[in-house]
């Protein structure tokens, strides 16, 4: 049995404040297998985004272990972690975070450009991904000319360009209307399945959460199972 793509054990995180330490995560255990989809729900302020950033190695944790595809991450320096993260993980954010000076194709290719030189097959893949998200005719449009849903599709394509083993999505439908959100979630789940990319989806939406293979809930700093395994 292969190692989980993501294996977090006993993650502890608190923020230092003038009033004392603010506990956020009190020992989170999470293992995600290859191609598996997992959703995490919780109330506002429960620490979902913090958990996601800890799983991505963007936040330092105060305790616990984390491994990506079997490789321990906590012992790596931030500069050593960054290229590993770029190779293994993909991200989709609530606010898309596209570079406004670049058009759709250039935004998607940015993920590859940061990893090294762009090869012809990278551009072919970028065009293919944008076609699969329904933006094959909008390659040269800058984010300012795209709707919210379209911008989020570009972000999904960018996240998948490097064939990540795991995609982390933080409220990807938070800024979208119901219908567009439905389209984006369906797209996300479909593409991750096609690419055999594991998915960790942070969402408020119960309906979206139930469409993943496993639904978890973050309460009082710990993860509990809500939906099917």
């Amino acid at each position: 049995m292969s190692a989980p793509i993501l294996n977090a054990t006993g993650l502890v995180k608190h923020f230092a404040t003038p009033a004392g330490d603010l506990p956020v995560l009190g020992g989170v255990d999470l293992a995600v297998g290859a191609g598996e989809s997992v959703s995490i729900r919780g109330e506002s302020g429960s620490g979902k985004t913090t958990l996601l950033y800890c799983l991505a190695g963007l936040e330092t944790v105060n305790g616990g272990q984390l491994a990506w595809d079997g490789q321990p991450v906590m012992t790596l320096t931030p500069s050593a972690r960054a290229p590993l993260r770029a190779r293994l993980l993909g991200f989709v954010f609530q606010s898309y975070y596209l570079t406004p000076e670049l058009d759709a194709l250039e935004n998607v290719l940015l993920a590859r450009r940061l990893a090294g030189r762009i090869r012809p097959e990278d551009e072919t893949r970028a065009r293919d991904l944008l076609g699969r998200v329904g933006l094959g005719q909008r390659l040269r449009h800058v984010p300012g000319k795209l709707s919210g849903g379209e911008a989020q599709r570009v972000a999904v394509a960018r996240a998948l360009l490097n064939r990540p083993r795991l995609l982390l999505a933080d409220e990807p439908t938070g800024n979208l209307d119901e219908r567009t959100a439905e389209e984006v979630i369906a797209l996300l789940l479909r593409l991750c399945a096609e690419e055999n990319t594991a998915l960790v989806l942070v969402t408020h939406h119960a309906g979206f959460a139930s469409r993943t293979a496993r639904a978890l809930r973050l309460e009082r700093g710990r993860l509990g199972l809500v939906g099917p395994v």
Binding site: L58, A86, S95, Y97, E101, V142, G144
Partner: protein, 494 residues
């Protein structure tokens, strides 16, 4: 290309900002409007200070010619305005303003430095024209100057050498007195006719100069009322005045006008007359003596001049030893370059140029602060984008490089445009100056007929190097801020 370079370039010239089709027409319309407003304002100013009338009277062959020339100025203004509008179209507003700051700074620096170089170069030419590349002086008049001349002419690189006597006299023609400088020509020397001043005789012939005649500078000739050739002028010297004090009769030296020379430099033409060496020796009570030996070289290069000065000094050493032994230490001859002869004036020009440089460079420094503000604002606006770059695998030094490189690109674009603008301004400098200043005032004060300019590679290197450095440095503080941002904090930034 490395991705920080790519992103820095894209921040400066984002995708999607292009001037084509309708936007190109808008750019052109804006340019025409701006240039027309400036052109009309310029015409009003020129009309009010009388320049239009002056230009019509003195510079152009007719109204059509003047209108054609002014029309060309309008075309240049329109092109410049179109270029500026294009920059504002292609790059965000704050970046465009930063670029304009650098453009203005570089334009001013290159224009000022090139004009100051021009002044130095013109003065250098005047010095060499009037005095030669090298002069040999002793503390007393040089005896038997022809012996010294024949020794000096053995040195390779020496083109001309002749004994010269200088002085100041009072010249009177038809009760019109002037006090010009006077210099001599040794008409027995074959080099006399090859002297640049001798070759500039336009009225009359240099060969007609003899012990009873005088050559007048063009300015002196005009001030005397343009006396015809053959007219008699009276010359008074300090020696004559000294003799008069001893109760001798004061009789001027009467000389005939043999010709008029015009070198093109009012500092010489307006102030100098020329006589033979024999006449000067009579006027100043010399025997076979001269004040100096004027040497002209085959090459005006200063390093070459300095090298030959040393060689000639060594060549003169045996003769110096003889003369010092016979006549005392004041007979020792020393060789001076034109630079040494005029070091005070040159030092003033150097100080002027240096002070102007340091004053004008403040403009570039101010522009650099503009770049810093623009990029600092950019870091704040792009906080979340910086976070995303960190998430995608960017290292802090790479993120910092984006902003430093933006500063450098702004410096490069501004410098290139600034150089182009300064070259255009300098090409039309004479027209611009004459539009505001009467050329006669220019000649009277600066002694030049046209506004001088000289381009030196070292000036361009210094200005480019400083501008690139300060522009990049202006990006360093914002770059440092950006590099310190943590991706998670950036993504949470509201």
């Amino acid at each position: 290309m490395p991705w920080p370079v790519y992103l820095a370039f894209k921040h400066l010239f984002p995708t999607g900002r292009r001037a084509a089709g309708a936007s190109a027409r808008r750019v052109l319309l804006l340019a025409v409007s701006i240039s027309t407003v400036i052109f009309v304002g310029m015409l009003v100013v020129l009309w009010q200070n009388g320049a239009l009338g002056r230009l019509h009277a003195y510079k152009y062959t007719g109204l059509g010619s003047m209108l054609g020339h002014l029309g060309l100025v309008w075309v240049w203004l329109t092109l410049a305005a179109a270029f500026v509008a294009l920059i504002f179209r292609l790059t965000p507003f704050f970046n465009a303003m930063s670029i304009m700051g650098i453009v203005l700074g570089v334009t001013v620096l290159i224009t000022v430095q090139s004009v100051m170089n021009g002044f130095s170069h013109e003065y250098e030419k005047v010095f060499i024209l009037a005095q030669g590349n090298l002069d040999i002086w002793a503390k007393e008049p040089i005896r038997n100057p022809r012996e010294v001349v024949s020794l000096i002419k053995q040195v390779p690189g020496v083109k001309l050498a002749e004994p010269v006597t200088f002085g100041q006299v009072m010249l009177i023609y038809q009760d019109n007195p002037l006090v010009p400088k006077v210099r001599s020509f040794d008409m027995n020397s074959p080099d006399a006719a090859r002297n640049p001043l001798a070759q500039s005789v336009g009225l009359g012939r240099f060969e007609d100069l003899d012990d009873k005649s005088v050559l007048l500078g063009r300015g002196i000739y005009s001030q005397l009322g343009s006396p015809p050739l053959g007219s008699k002028v009276d010359i008074y010297t300090p020696l004559m005045v000294a003799r008069m004090k001893k109760d001798d009769v004061l009789m001027p030296k009467e000389l005939e006008v043999a010709g008029v020379f015009e070198t093109g430099w009012t500092g010489v033409d307006d102030t100098t007359i020329a006589v033979t060496l024999r006449t000067m020796q009579d006027l100043y009570g010399f025997n076979d003596e001269a004040h100096t030996i004027e040497v002209r070289l085959d090459n005006d290069d200063l390093a070459h001049t300095r090298a030959l000065a040393e060689i000639i000094q060594q060549k003169l050493q045996p003769l110096n030893d003889e003369r010092v032994a016979a006549g005392g230490p004041d007979a020792k001859m020393s060789v001076y370059t034109w630079e040494e002869m005029n070091k005070d004036q040159l030092q003033i020009l150097f100080v002027e140029k240096t002070v102007m440089f340091y004053i004008m460079i403040v403009i570039v420094v101010v522009a650099a602060f503009c770049i810093l503000c623009s990029l600092a604002t950019s870091v704040v606006r792009k906080t979340r984008e910086v976070g995303v770059l960190g998430v995608l695998g960017a290292q802090p030094p790479q993120v910092a490089a984006i902003f430093c490189l933006q500063g450098l690109f702004i410096g490069v674009v501004g410098t290139v445009v600034g150089i182009g603008l300064s070259l255009i301004l300098l090409y039309y400098r004479q027209d611009i100056v004459e539009a505001f200043v009467d050329q006669r005032q220019l000649i009277e004060f600066y002694k030049f007929y046209s506004f001088p300019v000289q381009y030196r590679l070292t000036d361009f290197e210094e200005i480019l190097g400083f501008t690139f450095f300060i522009s990049t440095l202006a990006g360093a503080l914002p770059a440092w801020w950006a590099a310190r941002l943590k991706p998670a904090d950036c993504l949470r930034y509201e």
